[in-house]
């Protein structure tokens, strides 16, 4: 179910905490699974629960509490645009609208080709770079005016077509 490479990544996280507090690594393990598989499935929660020696329901509580865990499959690229007030003042909401038009989906939806999922999100902690967008949880994209949004989407599409 879980590869040796993934286990090694889990182990690195577990080693940070006291031996009897392995549960502390649950957030990191879930984030690793999400990075590798795109979302957190029930099966992954079961594997992590067993690995960390905690009840599966306790793992599930963590998955559902934190906004960034994908409880369902999402597109290959998850685009999360901040629309909180500091970003709103610098066209964060317009960035989201622009992407809705460009991708032909509403926020919360995934494009038919399965490439992009578009989301609205809360403060990313990068407010002075507004408009900002987080791609696949780990890549912050700053100063995303319409032109740069187009560039990013077009470049990712082109890269996928080449494959």
């Amino acid at each position: 179910m879980i590869s040796e490479a993934t286990k090694a990544r889990f182990a690195r996280e577990v080693a940070k905490y006291p031996a009897e507090q392995k549960q502390s690594a649950v957030m990191a393990c879930l984030a690793i699974v999400q990075q590798e598989q795109g979302h957190v499935s029930e099966a992954s929660e079961a594997v992590i629960a067993e690995y960390l020696g905690m009840p599966q329901i306790a793992v599930h509580e963590v998955t559902t509490f934190y906004n960034m865990y994908n409880q369902q499959a999402v597109g290959k690229y998850k685009l999360a645009v901040c629309t909180n007030l500091p970003c709103l003042l610098r066209d964060g909401a317009k960035a989201l609208e622009h992407l809705e038009q460009k991708l032909g989906v509403s926020m919360g939806q995934t494009t038919a080709d399965g490439l992009f999922t578009l989301q609205q999100c809360e403060c990313l902690g990068a407010c002075a770079d507004a408009p900002v967008m987080l791609v696949n949880d780990r890549n912050m994209c700053s100063f995303m005016g319409h032109e740069k949004l187009d560039q990013l989407v077009d470049a990712l599409r082109a890269a996928e077509e080449k494959k």
Binding site: A31, N67, L85, L89, C123, D129, A159
Partner: protein, 451 residues
């Protein structure tokens, strides 16, 4: 690197606009940074880890006792940069140093208060200053294990911090018998994954224990019951980053660069309707007008209307009041708001206050952890009321209802998120009531006209 990673990397900020603009005033934490000089070698070249050497007596001197370190921090007037402004030296002295079991040190880098992006730039471009500050704190309180809890959305910063930790371990600044002394300290990075509430210190501890991030009742404070139930000291990233300078230059010098009771420099994240949004490190007590000027002033062709001076949880101040303020805890508090996390959200005369409040109310509703009824239900009420007024469907009694829902949340919840949701509402009504009433009045006249 795969091609998609290469593509995404092109859109990453280099920090030029927010940090390397050369418009700080006497910076200590952001001094001499350029984006590439974050490594251990660079930090040492800037005088880094000298403070640690001196307290451990590894610079030829006698070293400092734990009491001496805490006394310096007390003398400096350093106050917590996480928002509450609690005196750091005093907090450190609460730590039961003689406690026989494990004690913990935690850095709060969960920066999620809308408007705030200062800790990100510290950790990305000067990570060792936080590491050194934490080692010194650990020494002063006799702590052997620490964690830095980093906001999940800034994953690149988490990776940078882990790289810096590796460097510090390899150089003997972290780990067993630091620099050959009897003092050992292990430090690790932990990341969040998208929950604003985990910035609240007890929610953060729950999260660090691998649970939902729901705040605990205080007291007991973390100083007596913290991580895994053990005594724990938590400070903000910027608070720890201030410590090496204090040790190198003395508490009195730090206090002298701010104003009485408000020592040192402070980093302000300026966002919204200014020409040059970014982080600005200036001495405490700098006039607001000066800070606004550093940020390029209000966008051309516009006038200043209002400012939220300390992150979205702090009450809004109209232009006439904020222009008379200096940027420090006491001046902003006297004006009726809070310095908070130092996030200065600027709004110009084209802005609708009802719309601004609506967006903030949505945020608090979304981020309430749901434990306390007044917060869980009240934040929803607030949003629905403001939304209704904004859509032009408000009723005359709505202003009173808003005020009463807000006052019923305040002081009745486990953590300060409830207050944080309620306070902006009351301040908006206090200073910009006519804007709300105009929208309601329009609705009422339309209803009368069509009847």
């Amino acid at each position: 690197m795969s091609s998609s990673a290469q593509i995404l990397a092109q859109f990453q900020s280099a920090g030029i606009e927010t940090c390397f603009h050369g418009r700080h005033i006497d910076p200590q934490i952001y001094a001499d940074l350029n984006g590439s000089n974050w490594t251990l070698k660079d930090y040492e070249a800037r005088g880094g880890y000298q403070a640690l050497r001196s307290i451990l007596g590894k610079d030829g001197g006698e070293g400092l006792t734990q009491d001496q370190v805490i006394a310096s921090v007390k003398e400096s007037g350093l106050r917590g940069r996480g928002g509450a402004g609690f005196p750091t030296g005093l907090k450190w002295s609460f730590m039961p140093r003689q406690f026989p079991g494990q004690k913990y040190l935690v850095c709060n880098s969960d920066e999620g208060e809308p408007g705030t992006c200062k800790d990100r730039d510290i950790l990305m471009f000067n990570p060792h200053i936080v590491i050194e500050g934490m080692i010194i704190a650990a020494y002063a309180m006799g702590i052997s294990v620490g964690y830095n809890y980093i906001h999940g959305e800034i994953f690149q910063v988490y990776e940078r911090f882990e790289a810096a930790l590796e460097e510090a371990r390899a150089a003997g600044y972290l780990g067993d018998s630091i620099l050959g002394s009897a003092f050992s300290f292990q430090l690790h990075a932990h990341h969040g994954f998208g929950a604003y509430i985990c910035g609240e210190e007890t929610a953060l501890l729950e999260s660090l224990e691998g649970k939902k991030g729901q705040p605990r009742f205080k007291p007991p404070f973390p100083a007596s019951f913290g991580l895994y139930g053990k005594p724990t000291t938590i400070n903000n990233t910027e608070t720890f980053a201030a410590v090496p300078w204090i040790i190198r230059n003395g508490g009195a010098a730090y206090l002298a660069c701010g104003k009485p009771n408000n020592g040192g420099t402070k980093i302000y994240s300026v966002s919204g309707d200014v020409e040059r949004p970014g982080n600005y490190e200036v001495p405490m007590g700098t006039p607001f007008a000066k800070l606004l000027e550093l940020a390029g002033g209000v966008r051309t062709g516009r006038q200043l209307k209002a400012v939220i001076p300390g992150g979205s949880s702090s009450p809004v101040l109209p232009a006439s009041i904020i222009m008379e303020c200096t940027m420090d805890y006491d001046s902003i508090a006297k004006a009726g708001s809070m310095l908070g996390s130092g996030a200065v959200i600027v709004m110009d005369d084209s802005r609708c206050m009802v719309e601004s409040l609506k967006r903030l109310s949505y945020f608090y509703m979304h981020e309430s952890c749901g434990q306390c009824t007044p917060c869980r239900e009240g934040t929803g009420w607030l949003w629905r009321l403001v939304d209704r007024i904004h859509r032009g469907e408000g009723r005359p009694q709505d202003m009173d209802v808003l005020d009463s829902v807000a006052s019923n949340i305040m002081g009745r919840t486990i953590c300060a998120l409830g207050d944080a949701a309620a306070m902006p509402v009351r301040a908006m009504i206090k200073h910009f009531r006519p804007e709300f009433e105009a929208l309601i009045q329009k609705n009422v006249s339309q209803a009368v006209a069509s009847a």
